[in-house]
Amino acid sequence: MSNDGILRGSFFMDGDTACAEGAICAGCRFFGGYPITPATEIAERMARRLPQVGGTYIQMEDEIASIAAVLGASWGGARSMTATSGPGFSLMMENLGLGIITETPCVLVNVQRAGPSTGMPTLVGQGDMMQARWGSHGPYEIIAIAPSSPQELFDLTIRAFNLAEKYRTPVLVMTDEAVGHMTERVVIPPLDEIEHYPRRKPQAPPNDGYLPYQPDPDGVPPMACAGDGYRIHVTGLTHNEKGYPATVSVEAQHKLVERLIRKIRDNRDDIIELHEDQVEDAEIVVVAYGISARTAARPVRLAREMGLKVGLLKLVTVWPFAEDRIRDLATKVRAFVVPEINMGQMALEVERSAEGQAQTIPVPHAGGGLHDPGEVLEAIKRAMGS
């Protein structure tokens, strides 16, 4: 470790630790959290490391307070994050909505475990994927990323912070217990090789016409923080460009919601990241994310060895969903096979996007373990046979 407290080099690190280190490299200097298996290690790492880099760790009294503090810290000018699992994720939903409507950059890590409810705290699940999209009330878009290794958890946490600042939105890192508790090699490059998207500040000085919610051409307003002298008003109520409540103006609601949604949808080419393997000539494409993208590698290889033309499409970005790519692929492939550790969530998106041009075969798993490669291979063979 060098004097500034930032790590660099090659490490043997578990996913949770890598996530924390990624956050620190990204400039995160505030963590407000609450212990929950299997995300506790992120909190513990941040509690130890943040004071070493001049940041603040606070363990709040519950997850609701955690996300509220994270939003407040962001408005105080800090890059801030929290980490939780299913039960805490559910608690954070209301304030996630506050973060979305106030356009507060922050990162929320969900190390998913088997649910519903208390479920299987120490075992893997991927059952919160639809909740990531629709968990808070009201209409909105969200950005969610799914790493499938500790190295990716490091890299994608950094990406999450950058996307959060670029699009002024909370960003979800939807990892899972398998990745979070897996120990692998993580390479941490020097800071100057790490992309850092700085917070977009207003150009004009105070009292010179800056409106807190007047967007730049890309739909994102520059963000003045508390103490910058702009005397901003920020509210969870539907608001106009001044930030003032406009609770009975249908026009204001329409304008605001439309902009919040387009801010992300219209920029999906920049936001969506996919890893494709052998998809070019595939007749069957396995669509997977998180740990399931790794467990799918073996059935895909076995299928290829059997002479079946199978490819793997890994969703690195889960939301916004890569519907354009799926829609395009659907005209070329016979079927999509979607293994996930839930009873069919992203499979619904695949099916929707395929628009009937290709079959979608979900391979569900109630949780607590990983897919048996044979199971996924069977689904691929079934897809071929039909």
Binding site: F30, M60, A65, A68, G72, G76, R231, I232, V234, Y244
Partner: protein, 278 residues
């Protein structure tokens, strides 16, 4: 028409306007609501304190009092129900130069926000909390709340409240607040002074302000309109500084003990963190 008012000069502006969002006045609060008076005392205190107003931040919750942030020309955050205090915690920890004031109501701070209140007090977070207590949930039309006195009638206690209320100063003191005071909306000068003391105090400062609700609580409990409720405060409030807050319960129509109850020095959350990091 203005000429018909005798001996009065008509103005477009008020001396406090530089601290107000004039384009949003008159505010939405009812005629006679004590909130405007509380804000006046707050603004007056700020003017006297000569702080860097760019660094004063107001965080409010949901409810009538929650609208306070929207009328002040300061960095203001109107957050979710009950969560003003943890939001304010994040703000303060990210930028310790900020002077963060939470202005919220009895329901927001004591019911849904109760847990956050007690933990922030326990941590002695360097925040000032103005808890405006009108004994009910006003914005949603007068439901029972955690500070509603026993036997009081509200829209969700039509047969009389069957619960015991919180005593806000007692709760604040017991959970570790460094400064605790209570005033009514009638005690304007003393409230102003308490606000000044609380803002200069390092640590968790709580000022409970008893405020009239002419539209719901007052009307349904035969306490009359604002003038009558203020008269009740005048007659039934007694200034007794340093009272043990445990003795300061408010019964329906009963005595209201006001004053400064707690003013102690203890390390704040940030003081202790700094020590530990050494």
């Amino acid at each position: 028409m203005a000429e018909e008012l005798t001996n009065v000069l008509i103005s477009e502006h008020h001396p406090m306007d530089s601290l107000l969002r004039q384009d949003r006045l008159p505010h939405i609060w009812c005629s006679g609501c004590g909130l405007g008076t509380v804000l006046t005392c707050f603004v007056s205190a700020l003017q006297k304190l000569e702080l860097d107003l760019d660094k004063v931040v107001v965080v409010s919750g949901i409810g009538c009092t929650g609208r306070a942030a929207g009328y002040l020309n300061l960095d203001g955050f109107h957050t979710t129900h009950g969560r003003a205090i943890p939001f304010a915690t994040g703000l303060k920890l990210a930028n310790p130069e900020l002077k963060v004031v939470v202005i919220s109501g009895d329901g927001d701070l004591m019911a849904i926000g109760g847990n956050h209140f007690i933990h922030a007090a326990r941590r002695n977070m360097d925040l000032t909390v103005l808890c405006v207590n009108n004994f009910n949930y006003g914005m949603t039309s007068g439901q029972v709340g955690p500070t509603t006195p026993t036997n009081a009638r509200t829209s969700t206690s039509p047969y009389g409240n069957t619960e015991h209320p919180f005593n806000v100063p007692y709760l604040a003191a017991a959970t570790g607040a460094a400064y605790v005071a209570r005033w009514t909306a009638l005690h304007v000068r003393r409230l102003e002074r308490s606000i000044m003391e609380a803002m200069q105090k390092r640590g968790f400062s709580v000022i409970e302000v008893i405020s009239p609700c002419p539209t719901y609580y007052g009307r349904w409990n035969k306490m009359g309109d604002t003038l009558e409720q203020m008269r009740y405060y005048h007659e039934q409030s007694v200034i007794r500084h340093w009272t043990d807050p445990a003795q300061a319960d408010i019964d329906l129509g009963g005595e209201i003990i006001v004053g400064r109850f707690v003013d102690i020095d203890k390390p704040t959350f940030s003081d202790l963190q700094r020590e530990a990091d050494q």
